[in-house]
Amino acid sequence: MSEEQQREARMHKRYRREKRFRIYCITALTLACLFLLFFLADIISKGYSAFWQAQVRVEVSYTEQSQEIPLAAVDAEMRSIVSRSWFRTLPQRISQDPELLGQTQTKWIVAKGDVDQYLKDKPNSLKQKERTIVDRLQAEGRTRLVFNTYFFTNGDSKMPEIAGIKSAVIGSIYVLLVTMACSFPIGVLTAIYLEEYAPDNWLTRTIEVNINNLAAIPSILYGLLGLAIFINTFGVPRSSAMAGGLTLGLMSLPVIIISARAAIKAVPDSIREAAFGVGASRWQVVWHHVLPLSMPGILTGSIIALAQAMGETAPLLIVGMMAFIPDAPGGVTDAATVLPAQIYTWSSAALRSYESRTAAAIIVLLAVLILLNATAVFLRKRYERRW
């Protein structure tokens, strides 16, 4: 082979290597994107069906007997089809509205969880006899799927057909209120101190290193802190939104401090100097000029911290926020659960009907998180100033 050819071959090899390397890179990125697509498709395909709920059309006779034995209100064969929750509240409804007594109505009633699963072609534990009944009802047009309002208006329940996320959502709101109430002011004040006031000494440097370290501590250790300090030492009630909120507050503190510092640092010094020049004191400079200018950045960071706190589960499990909470908590000291913890408890429930509900709760959680992050991005785009 001539020298010319050799060089040609070498070049060829190098270009091939270049191409291969490029393909590796593209493959990696595509893999990440594909995973996201697969993940979202999987969750949505599992969860969307939970937004619809099976109902059956049943003849209900409100009699004296059905007030005492609610099962007697419907045909014998329908008893295993209709949700037990409906029977349970029947006597109450009759005593609330005595005119119902003696009437016979044809109504759409929530079906049992397994019937719901069967109608959606999902795994269920219906017996063969019940299946034939449901098949017949379906042929007669006595079954339908309607929008699942219970999912949004009910708390947790042992009966999947009426289990909802309301109490978890309210618990989440309480927890996040406590979180933000303690971490936003402390975080912003710390950031102001470090950027505008702190002298450059060992204490300041310790605080800085420390904040970076805090951001890297696994979230579950914050749970241990919450358990040992807030619950065991300060006597905050276990499982309460207060305990969870304080724990998450400490956890989101470094995130808020770091982003607030970046926002404050972005304000150019000329503004500070101009304010000092007309005789403003340090706090006047901060309060009148630096803070208003950096507020969009601070808010963006805080919203991101909020979104993070909202999806956090591990420390909340440690402080006991995974209890079974059928009714919405009335305050920050009541036992509460949060949306991610609800997802966790449902995902470990034995009944298959909970699986789609778990995925549906995940869809709700992801939607809220995307909304929060979109708000943060919007704020940044809309108010960001380049100096």
Binding site: E18, F39, I186, P218, L225, R282, T358
Partner: protein, 415 residues
């Protein structure tokens, strides 16, 4: 009457007083100015001055009392405390108003208070760290006293249930002795972390290289949000995905290959955790590669190298410290990750090399020990703190190394 009620009462009493203090202080200053003397500061600073005089005494008093209460030294009845607070508040207000003179440097005084307030806020972050370390340390020491450090580090048996039996006074019934050897737990943790890093490092690093070196701004603009979404998905959601979707897939794939896999295998949480860590690796590496000076690339291209040769021979070696620190942060993230392993990995401590078997991790055992109904001072509950201490030490060390490495890197390129 609950504590919350008293807090409301306190705020309800103090807030009007505070507003009053501000207005009174301001008015007093203005009145003096009207008499012809020149004020040192703006009138509103005199208002704030009075406000501070009023608000500080009750806050100090109530913090003092709650500290006394927490350490069981003295418990002041809540109604008495509220009344006392309001009284000192009023006293402080009167004292503050008296000191308002035209020559008073109200602005400087208020600024001093603000400075202290800011400093206190900054110290809270240190208190948090101290709180974490101490709260874990004390309980961990109690645990190590019960179990023994050496046994904890070298033991290969983790059987805390027997401790429960012993606690119930049924020692020796099954002939079982509680064992707290952490080796199998750490083995599981490192196995899952290893699998996660095997996914995250190549995908994250190559994505970062593509985005910083090859991608057009348009592709970059589309790929970055995808990675950010991956980073924003809550871990409990990843856990559900790993347990419900990936685990059965792994089991089926293993069956197809003629292997046997548990549904709680270590592979599926590892894989999903790897995906979770991709964005950490990619965004940190991306930043580092982007921050390398352009002269480096240009010099290399001028020698006639291809793009990939420049990346492999020039950029990557230069960016190596940053990539290493990204890797270490990823590892510490994986070690401390909880929900994915709680939902998808097993509970059974298992010392094995086979990722298709169920393994457990430190975080799983912590959650398991603390979500049961056991008494707080039982050995099993305290074992959570023993494990937590180990986890804390490892993550802090990793974080420290990565900080040092990245600082060296920044000094080298004068960033």
């Amino acid at each position: 009457m609950t504590t919350g009620y008293y807090v409301l009462l306190f705020l309800g009493g103090v807030l009007p007083l505070a507003i009053m203090a501000y207005l009174l202080g301001q008015r007093r200053a203005l009145a003096q100015e009207a008499e012809g003397s020149k004020l040192h500061s703006q009138p509103n600073f005199y208002g704030w001055y009075a406000f501070v005089w009023m608000i500080l005494p009750p806050i100090v008093l109530s913090v003092l009392c709650s500290l006394l209460h927490v350490f069981h030294l003295l418990t002041v009845p809540a109604p008495m405390l509220v009344v006392a607070c309001l009284a000192v508040a009023a006293g402080g207000l009167i004292a503050g108003l008296r000191t308002i003179q035209p020559g008073l440097r109200a602005r400087n005084r208020v600024e001093d208070v603000i400075r202290w307030l800011l400093f206190t806020a900054a110290v809270i972050s240190i208190m948090t760290t101290i709180g974490i370390v101490l709260s874990i340390l004390f309980e961990a020491i109690r645990f190590y006293k019960m179990v023994g450090v050496w046994e904890f580090i070298t033991g290969t048996q983790w059987a805390p249930d027997a401790a429960f039996l012993a606690g119930a006074g049924r020692t020796g019934e099954e002939g079982a002795q509680a064992a707290f050897g952490s080796v199998p737990i750490f083995a599981g943790t490192f196995m899952i972390t290893f699998i996660a890093m095997c996914v995250a490092v190549p995908v994250g690093l190559f994505s970062a290289i593509y985005m910083s070196e090859y991608a057009s701004p348009k592709v970059r603009g589309m790929a970055k949000p995808v990675l950010e979404i991956l980073a924003g998905i809550p871990t409990v959601v990843y856990g559900f995905f790993a347990a419900i979707t990936v685990s059965p897939l792994v089991v089926r794939a293993a069956e197809a290959a003629g292997l046997e896999a548990d549904y709680t295998n270590a592979l599926s949480p590892g894989l999903v955790m790897g995906v979770m860590i991709i964005p950490f690796i990619s965004s940190l590496s991306d930043d580092v590669i982007n921050s390398l000076p352009h002269s480096m690339r240009e010099g290399s291209y001028a020698l006639g190298t291809t793009q990939s040769e420049t990346i492999k021979k020039v950029l990557l070696p230069a960016a190596m410290p940053g990539i290493v620190s990204a890797f270490l942060l990823g590892v510490s993230r994986a070690l401390g990750e909880t929900m994915i392993v709680v939902m998808a990995a097993g509970l059974r401590p298992n010392l094995t090399w086979n990722p298709l078997e169920g393994m457990t991790t430190v975080t799983v055992r912590i959650v398991d020990a603390l979500t049961g109904d056991l008494a707080f001072d039982s050995a099993e509950t305290l074992s959570a703190f023993g494990l937590g201490l180990a986890l804390l030490l490892v993550t802090l060390t990793l974080n420290l190394i990565s900080t040092i490495v990245i600082r060296r890197f920044k000094q080298q390129y004068e960033l």
